[in-house]
Structures are given as structure tokens and as C-alpha cells.
Subunit: 151 residues, 2 copies
């Protein structure tokens, strides 16, 4: 699915950006939160909470479900991670400084997900809800299907 050439670079850049965002916002980017974010970034395939849990256990953490869900809550609130509701899985945000107005293409063959932005789309949605005098707080837009590689 993806145009990522060297995924190590991908991970490191995401981690660096997370560091600096937390620094700027005065948030505590603890070892645990760092590790969870890194585990999520290990691939472009969205990760299940309990898979993170298993991986953490292999890393000297006494991890239990709340361990993971709390870290996830932090990462979600900070905008470093997205939850994909249609598959109950989590994926790193690819541009956490502009975290909103995105949607996701999720390949049901290779399981990778790609975060996309589209002004036209955002505008169309904006128009649609204004017609309904609706004040949006959170938009979920996820497309399940086959990506170019798997087609």
C-alpha cells in the first residue's frame, strides 16, 4: 500500500516528532508511552490493543490491559495515534501537528492502512452538516477495500 521506502526512517521520524510535540505541549512522554507508540509504528498495519499488550510483556513490563489502554488514551488525546473504529485497531498519525480532517484507506488484503487528507472531502462534509445545522466534534471516515498493490 505504502510509499514508505525505509521504515526505520519512518519510525524514527515519527518518534522524533512525538518527542518534540510533547515537549512543546509540556506533556510527559514516558518510557511506557514511548514504547507503545514505537510498537504501533512498527508497521503500517494497524495494531490491536491486545497485540501491544503481548509485545509489552516481552519487554520487561508488567503489562495488563489498563497499562496499554492508558497509554493509548494519552496518545489519542495528544493526536499521535488514531483509532480505526471499523477494525478496532490503532495506527500512528502521520502528521500529528495537523491531526484532523483525515480519512483512512484500509486494505483488507495486506491489512495496511493509509492516512489521507482531502480538502474537497472536508469541504463536502462541512457543507453537508451545515445543511443539517449540526455541530461536529469528531469525524470518522474509513474506507475498507483493496489497495493498488493487492488489486
Amino acid at each position: 500500500m505504502l510509499d514508505c521506502q525505509d521504515h526505520e526512517v519512518c519510525i524514527e521520524s515519527a518518534m522524533r516528532e512525538a518527542e518534540s510535540i510533547c515537549q512543546e505541549k509540556g506533556l510527559r512522554f514516558t518510557e511506557l508511552r514511548r514504547e507503545v507508540l514505537r510498537l504501533i509504528w512498527l508497521s503500517h498495519i494497524p495494531t490491536k490493543a491486545y497485540d501491544i499488550l503481548e509485545k509489552l510483556k516481552g519487554k520487561a513490563w508488567s503489562a495488563k490491559p489498563p497499562t496499554v489502554y492508558r497509554a493509548l488514551d494519552f496518545l489519542l488525546e495528544t493526536g499521535l495515534v488514531h483509532k480505526l473504529d471499523s477494525i478496532n485497531a490503532y495506527i500512528g498519525c502521520s502528521h500529528p501537528r495537523e491531526h484532523d480532517g483525515c480519512y483512512f484507506l484500509i486494505c483488507t488484503d495486506c491489512n495496511e492502512a493509509k492516512e489521507c487528507c482531502s480538502p474537497e472531502l472536508t469541504d463536502a462534509i462541512e457543507l453537508a452538516w451545515s445543511k443539517n445545522s449540526f455541530r461536529p466534534k469528531k469525524v470518522t471516515l474509513e474506507v475498507l477495500g483493496q489497495c493498488g498493490q493487492c488489486d
Copy 2:
């Protein structure tokens, strides 16, 4: 949220349409499936699977989780019901003969959900994914926020 005047009429028309769709498609619209659909249509607030379960139990069914989920599977496949992934709840489809290309406005105050259609939106999505050479199978578009009444 809604412009539905007499909800009895709303329910009855949905049930009639469901009957005729099943008839046309040669599907078996059993008592159980009928009852589950009716329970979902009881309000414009999306229903939780386990709420359906409780209501069924009050109606002489020996209902257990699979009872409900199987009926839901049928109704989802037939296009009579939508699942709202962002809140894990189910809502009747308001125009099951053209079941796709819709999105949902979900009010976090009154909890009602409204199914909407927007050609511009569908077009914008279509354009976006074609740019990514992606072959969509299912689109999830849900907007959480405040409706006009609750604003």
C-alpha cells in the same frame, strides 16, 4: 434531531418496506428477525446489541447473544440495518433500497442519529480513493457532535 412526526408511522413503513424487500429477494423474514428489526426501529437512537437481547428476553424468546447477533447479521447483509462503528450500535436504514453512499450524524447529547446522503460527498470520496488507486468495498462515515435541537 429528527423530522419524524409520528414515529408509529415511521416504524410501520420501515417494517412494510422490509417485508417487501425480503419477499422480492426471496429471503426469510422470520418472526425473530422481524422482532429485532422492530426493536431497533423503536427509536431513532441507535440500539446496542445487548439492549436488544434484554428486550427480546421480555418477549418469550430464549434469547442469548448469538440469537441477536445472527439476526443483526441478516439485517446488515440485507441492508435493513446499519452498524455505527464509532458507538457500537445499530440503527434502521431509512432507505434500504439504496443502502449505500450514506453517512451518519450522531448527536452526543440526545443520542439520536440521522442517516444522510450527499452526492457531493460520495463524489469527493470517489475522487480521493481513485487518486490512491484504491478499490473500496465499504465506507464508514460517522460524524459525532451536537444536533440543531441540542445546540
